[in-house]
Symmetry: C2
Subunit: 248 residues, 2 copies
Amino acid sequence: MTLASGARSIGGNGIEVVAFDGDDTLWHSESHFVDAHARFVALVAPYVDGDPTVIDERVVATERANLAIYGYGAKAFTLSLIESAIDLTAGRVTSGEIAAILDLGKRLLDQPVELLEGVDEVVARLDDDGYRLIVVTKGDLFHQESKVAGSGLADRFARVEIVSEKDVATYRRVMGEAGVAPENFLMIGNSVRSDILPVVELGGHAAHLPYVYTWELEHVPDADAERMGFHELTSIRQLPELLDRLSG
Amino acid sequence: MTLASGARSIGGNGIEVVAFDGDDTLWHSESHFVDAHARFVALVAPYVDGDPTVIDERVVATERANLAIYGYGAKAFTLSLIESAIDLTAGRVTSGEIAAILDLGKRLLDQPVELLEGVDEVVARLDDDGYRLIVVTKGDLFHQESKVAGSGLADRFARVEIVSEKDVATYRRVMGEAGVAPENFLMIGNSVRSDILPVVELGGHAAHLPYVYTWELEHVPDADAERMGFHELTSIRQLPELLDRLSG
């Protein structure tokens, strides 16, 4: 691997590459899945006796069981919803309701990209300041590419890495491809499991920026920034100052 | 972009990087889709009056209409089959039949990788001869990664590029990332549209190796190797000789 020299030349401890998670860090995503899930619940609830939380439980269990075969993303979600609907209704779900679930999935895939508050300005500022910016995002290749294209930010990013799993091996490869040492790399994202812990394990910097919703399969109980060695932000607008501090 | 020097050092006209398509070039794929399609036809045929070719036509039309939203791959295919089943049966398809379509899709995704005849030896020989080998494949990120992992060939490839569309822009990026000039790049694949024409347009070399089946959406009528400037092979075993000739 040839180490490319970055546009920004700084000392050993400075951040050279800032990597952004996509979904729920740059743009809204989980809120759309939450909406789709609510519509799904409304569709199947009439078939389910008693406590409607069995619907949530069945969906999460189906998604978890299918993860190794479907991977992540809205098409995987749609297929798992159809399977859940058949199970939850003991086969009584109608083809019209299945068609409605297909439409929920298409609506998710077709949703215009909505950037999170502050993203536009912060990404522009860091790019102008000479940081090399990349996106490291998980999920459906086709859908993620559409979102990057629809974000209006594509020109700000030196690389877009769409990966099937965000683990230590993935981040090692991403850092290698970008030609950056872990100590000069910072990842920012909303998922402690996918955006933070593997980067910290490699000796990189990581900033956790929680989103209003966390998907059950990304949830890490008892995440503790100080003990686990990452930075906790409440707004992406705090990122430039964190980078200054790390380069200081 | 830093140009990495290849393991093989050859003159201006020699091939340095050999890029392989995955599906139907390295391993069987379309034959599994053809099987799945046949099972689908058997499921819905009882609902369809008259000529069963309306089933094929409806599936292709649905896949084509969904391409811009679903992209390629087995999950996209499964979702399009469910939609087609609802349409073709005027909503009379049962949830048990929808469940059978979900199973067809899972079976496609779970299919063990079967290498095509000669692939194993040719890939090993070219790697041992010092060519830099890469995979450029389209479709579902998660599924394609599983197939590379399951092929037993992963260690032979310097890079695996899973892309959402194989067009001129994609191949320009792939050559850039690999640090190779078009005249030192050869792509081999079964699809004239996706593996051959964009590479030839960039000034690269391309070898067409037809597979027994061609998906309707990849079909190029009147493809002519001589007129269009690519090489036509009948077996991957002819590839080493072609590379020798191009380097001679």
